[in-house]
Amino acid sequence: MSIWNYVVTAHKPTNVTHSCVGNFTGPQELNLIIAKCTRIEIHLLTPQGLQPMLDVPIYGRIATLELFRPHGEAQDLLFIATERYKFCVLQWDPEAAEVITRAMGDVSDRIGRPTDNGQIGIIDPDCRLIGLHLYDGLFKVIPFDNKGQLKEAFNIRLEELQVLDIKFLYGCPRPTIIVLYQDNKDARHVKTYEVALKDKDFVEGPWSQNNLDNGADLLIPVPPPLCGVLIIGEETIVYCSASAFKAIPIRPSITRAYGRVDADGSRYLLGDHAGLLHLLVITHEKEKVTGLKIELLGETSIASTISYLDNAFVYVGSSYGDSQLIKLNLHPDAKGSYVEVLERYVNLGPIVDFCVVDLERQGQGQVVTCSGAYKDGSLRIVRNGIGINEQASVELQGIKGMWSLRAATDDPYDTFLVVSFISETRILAMNLEDELEETEIEGFCSQVQTLFCHDAMYNQLVQVTSSSVRLISSTSRELQNEWNAPSGYSINVATANATQVLLATGGGHLVYLEIGDGILTEVKHAQLEYEVSCLDMNPIGENPNYSQLAAVGMWTDISVRLFSIPDMNLVTKENLGGEIIPRSVLLCSFEGISYLLCALGDGHLLNFLLNMSTGDLAIAKEGELTIGTIDDIQKLHIRSIPLGEHARRICHQEQTRTFAICSLKYNQSNSEEAEMHFIRLLDDQTFDFISTYPLDQYEYGCSILSCSFSDDFNVYYCVGTAYVMPEENEPSKGRILVFLVEDQKLQLIAEKETKGAVYSLNAFNGKLLAAINQKIQLYKWMLRDDGTHELQSECGHHGHILALYVQTRGDFIVVGDLMKSISLLIYKHEEGAIEERARDYNANWMSAVEILDDDIYLGAENNFNLFTVRKNSDGATDEERGRLEVVGEYHLGEFINRFRHGSLVMRLLDSDVGQIPTVIFGTVNGVIGVIASLPNEQYLFFEKLQSNLRKVIKGVGGLSHEQWRSFYNEKKTVDAKNFLDGDLIESFLDLGRIRMEEISKAMGASVEELMKRVEELTRLH
């Protein structure tokens, strides 16, 4: 690979972090707005459900998202603040259908300690100010003037340093905040402050409340007429106001999200850490609060955000599982749940680990992720291409044809599957248990091959065999009528629709029949000069049940012909040329344009445009088939394997066709939440658990590897573990377990105790390389006298804070440290020692590393940056050679948990793109991305394109792309270098022609060339 890298998203973030509901796109339109870390999605509520309107990329990680309505505005505005201290106020312009920026700015302070509990952004309900808590001890105010314009921001000192939540109170004459905080004795209290805008200071508020629930973490301000605040704890919920205090105990739980139901604030939905949804009700007499009630409604995904939509429908956004659209029913279902899940929206996040495999052995990689957390943990199989979900399968050999039929003409779904073999026809149907089982339709002739089947009018079915056409009632299932082929002739090919049958017998006879209620009528006969190879009569005209056109493919002269129906006059004839006969013809229409498709025996597909408007049907144009317009189908197909537990590591073993995972299950039935950790073996086709090895109490699976050792043909699974004891800061004990898969079972072959957590395992020169706490340790696989094997320590290397991530190449070892960035070690065979060769002296806290090539290593760190370092073997001094030089820096805005070499697409080695090496990454937000190393010439070209695109594609909210991609941590901010943003570059293809031409001019390259080059890059993912 190289230092010139191209970073592109293959799967966008799906972790829903925020959501809100309001009238954003119009005063009469209700919208759901969802934040997925670096993107917002705008949806419209419609009778049909949630209608997606727009996916808006934001050049920042969204920290807060709020809809608000300044006085005098007809629709809501959207306030967004990003983690890098930018904010913007967005408005929808309905005429232009554009998002415009009302205000934006920078709210960073030069000095200040970023808050530990995340950023808080709130808007006064009376729109007098926006409040931000970004740094400990400071409350930032952006005031509104009386015209709704924002004014210069200022800080107010906030005495409370450990702030858990801040909200504005409703119904206060002066803007008033309530602060939930923890004191230095770990007790929690709330306090109110009035914001004196003129004096830029706080004034002691109307009330406070001390010594709340120790787990109080969330404030819910209650709107008028009740006002006051709900304080959500882990064991109690309290309603508090200047005049009232009401509390109720709750089952111990951590409330993760809430959604207000009623405008008067009397009911709230609360989602907890276990995915349970509760309804909290403030009971009141007129405006006097009399108490609180809480009811369990049911279970959802573990919610990170809850938005009440309309008419009992609720959106549940999740970070740990799929997001959901649910309905609150008035009556419980059989399981006692009031919650009905109506839609599921895929979320891959958090991707904790993944592997790249080729399960179908077709040369195309698939990614299998460990996704989700807690009860919502799952494996996801992500592959490129259109997905087909297997619902049921039967083993059948020698299938010649298949047709689906309905039990009645008006049925919405097909019931029967007719499967034809060389000498029989069988009928399958889905039974009530959704299983495919064989059935019978008496009127069918089942002792011969079926040539064609179709549903017909009047609840009838048509079956064509070589000797006859049978009309069968789909209700009585009995034969109604039969048309027999003339003696001496057998039917070769046939087609039909709901009212018509067309068939060809030997000798070039073409017969046209019409279907009546219980009767088949021969309408027309034609004699053609050659044998017919294929037929079609699919109605593409105005009548969906009747075709005025038949397509016929011919042997001998290799032509396709169109006949008018019912008179069977030849409309046109097209010679295909060549010697390959047409095997199948189809009349069809895409987006209102009619085509004749013709498949040849050698796999070619020809398409002809049909000119139907003149009535004089003519083949207008021949061309290559392009089904580009159908390509809206999502590119990545995702299959979910819910586990009900949290998979943290995954590994595939080709030889045994299995996966092994390290997982943990939370046992909530016990009062003390016990975790259980497992090594599980899964079949790589069915994904069923086929064997389980339970780990000890407190023992976590940390790493997993499939490998083999020198002088041993077996392939093993090696698992590294840690004993995580409550009283220890770092694990001081762990194990390496070596398993063999025998008879589909995990057999423990060897185990080795370690002096710490085994964070990483690598196969290394026929040995096992382990990262154990601050040490890198190499183990040999030794044969004992009794024929068993053991791991024997050979050598090691100290000097890390925690060696978390290790990759190897030849004798080189690249280590990603908890705090000390990347270092390069080398294994010296002669001395049997591991030594440090070079290191990056920056203090990066690593989250993943990968080796791009001999000299260049890739790292991801916890400030969401990517960087590359280069080994400097040619340095003049030891000092120079001992330093890994930083060659690339980039702000990805995503937390990467894993890099893997590989590709999601079929890589054809003869194509240009096939030569470009790629690394795949997976992130906490569910992003799957690709990093591709470009040749220098390409890199420079696309760098130029990127800088031109920056001028044309504007950052939403006025946010700058250049600033967003700049490498950023507590110590420094520097421009991105040697990384390109593929998402921006590929958005070139979405531009209008005029904008493309603008860029083409600046680039000095034609639009077509630019499109071609960018399209090539899109084939990387």
Partner: protein
């Protein structure tokens, strides 16, 4: 329970009335169009590019204290805005909060 549930708020009774639930085993495949603005209104009006007050919060505190001291007493009471309720003079509120170091 029945008394707590029901009477769900409705903005438009038609919303979701024709919703066809999808097969729960198949997630929704809806993907909205990605927005790439090329217009100029992504930049707000010049007076709506907001920055923070340049003056350090500590310096501001000192200046405010100094101004308060210089003010003649009678004028000070006139200056008190109704926001303060007139009961608690500013000095006591700010005196309890030591400036940050």
């Amino acid at each position: 329970m029945g008394s707590l549930l029901g009477h769900w708020p409705s903005f438009d009774p038609h919303n979701f009335s024709q919703l066809r639930p999808s097969d729960p085993s198949n997630p929704s495949k809806m993907t909205p169009v990605t927005y790439h603005p090329t217009h100029d209104r992504t930049i707000p009006p010049p007076n709506q590019v907001i920055s923070s007050e340049a003056k350090n919060i500590l310096l501001r505190h000192f200046y405010q204290r100094a101004e308060d001291k210089l003010r003649p007493k009678r004028a000070a009471s006139e200056l008190l805005t109704p926001e303060h309720g007139g009961k608690h003079p500013r000095a006591s509120a700010s005196a309890s909060k030591a400036p940050p170091c």
